[in-house]
Amino acid sequence: MRLIFPIAIPLATAILGLFAWRWRTVQRGLGIAGAAALLLASLELLKSVWQQGPQATWVGNWPAPFGITLIADLLSAIMVVLAAVIGFAVALYALAHIDPAREAFGYYPLLHILLMGVCGAFLTGDLFNLYVWFEVMLMASFVLLALGGERAQLEGAIKYVTLNLMASAFFLTAIGLLYGVVGTLNMADVALKIRPLASSGVTRSIAFLLLTAFGIKAAIFPLFFWLPASYHTPPVAVSAVFAGLLTKVGVYALLRVFTLIFPEDGHTIPTVILALSALTMLTGAFGAIAQSELRRILSFLIVGHIGYMTMGLGLSTTAGLAGSIFYIIHHIVVKTNLFLVSGLTHAVHGSFDLSRLGGLYRTHPGLAVLFLISALSLAGLPPLSGFFAKLLLVRAGLHAGQWGIVAVALGVSLLILLSMMKIWAEAFWKPMREDLPAGGSHALPISPVTERIGMMSRLGFWSSAGLAILTVMIGLGADLVLALAEAAAEQLRNPDLYISTMQRGRP
């Protein structure tokens, strides 16, 4: 029953929000209340999965291979909690920083539909249902991306829509072929029935089709071009939630499918994934260095970090998967926070361009501290969360004897540090240049912050501060998070528990 709530709460919030279309105060209240309720429900789910093991709900009481099953093992529960945390933080931030026009055209209901799609994708145990949740999520993200209709947004949205729809078509093709081979789409059932066919050519083709489809959604190496072309176009209240959650749904799908349905597979797929991970890290880091706009740098760094998350999958060891899961936990929090900080910076100076920023360390020391915590964590300095995430992956890589990927991972983290220091030096450290005429704080037509009164305008800062504290806590309580990640990885490596949970609904 618990499994329904992370899907039902955002849905109810979105519907109520649509009823309150004209009352923006009601929409704001609903937006924040719905996100808080989702956070509570997801924490409750994680707690019960941690204590009692994986749980399943058979929707409409249809028994396992026939109906749609919602199933939560530790990985799903962790991802749902992360989605809820990000949803809450961004909803708080949006209270202070989303512009009135976008708010009036349904920002909060769309945000909650997006959250519903993301949570649904994490919880479903059925491949076709996963496709449906992907589409729910995509549809909400399309509208959020294009909401406002600025030229850059529309151009970015065309690329985003095209490539994501292509990925959906590939996914659907793979589903069709898989159904033709095994005659079922329930993931646990597919895992059982595909075992005797594991090395056949058609299974291999399906695996690579799925790798391509999820690879586009996760933005891994040759398929990432839509991300840096679109993520910097919408306002920060939108791009922060995209940066935190959307690509990670692709990574989650990769983790799920390649541990449950196509485990090991004669080492072809793990090797391919490792090579792609290395290339993803390198392109992301080098792309970021070449940019001089805050959000473009951050967008490229998302690509770079996806490489770390798939690296653990490519190592195909329990330690590697634990490293990947830890990395996902760390990255979602930190990356969202960096986007929020970029939004706060924009609220101060009215620009994302590094050459137009400066002096923030002197004028806004609190903001500088928030940025520094997240930036150093992203680059992987102890004792912040990123250090432990990278440590785990590097150690797992050394144990697996994959020296090449370890070298790339370590080298790339230096490049990430370089990008972060560039932002620090340009936006925070150097004195503000007064001689640049346009693009100052007058560039915004309406300053959305000043419109809100008192407490409200500080909410953006506090939601970012909350995420920064969470980063520090993940770093300081690394052993707890590691225990969680290792238990989740253990469940991924031994899918029998997942399969038997699903089969409890058998007639």
Binding site: E135, M139, F142, A146, A169, G176, L177
Partner: protein, 115 residues
Amino acid sequence: MELLLAIVIGSLYATGLYMLLRRSVVKLIIGLGLLANGSNLLIFTMGRLVRARPPIVPEGESSVPPPFADPLPQALILTAIVISFGVLAFALVLIHRAYQKVGTDDLDDLKTTDT
């Protein structure tokens, strides 16, 4: 019949991908539509093509005697058609708005956000 459909599906994928590579935004949308229809037909074919044999269990038996067409893929296609219809409608509005804003339908002129 399967052979014919296989050829049709292959052509749909090929033309869809070719259209995606064209420069006109409208052709991009047509390409996406063809690709979606190709995958729908593929799922349809995967459910076996049998004519006039409804998958109904006869009285006194416990399963449908083969050959019969699997009804599940057809239900899947219905869902997929509805989704791709909605998504394509959105995409059409999107390119229309982009055309109004930018004044061109040439993808090579829509590069200001690229890096």
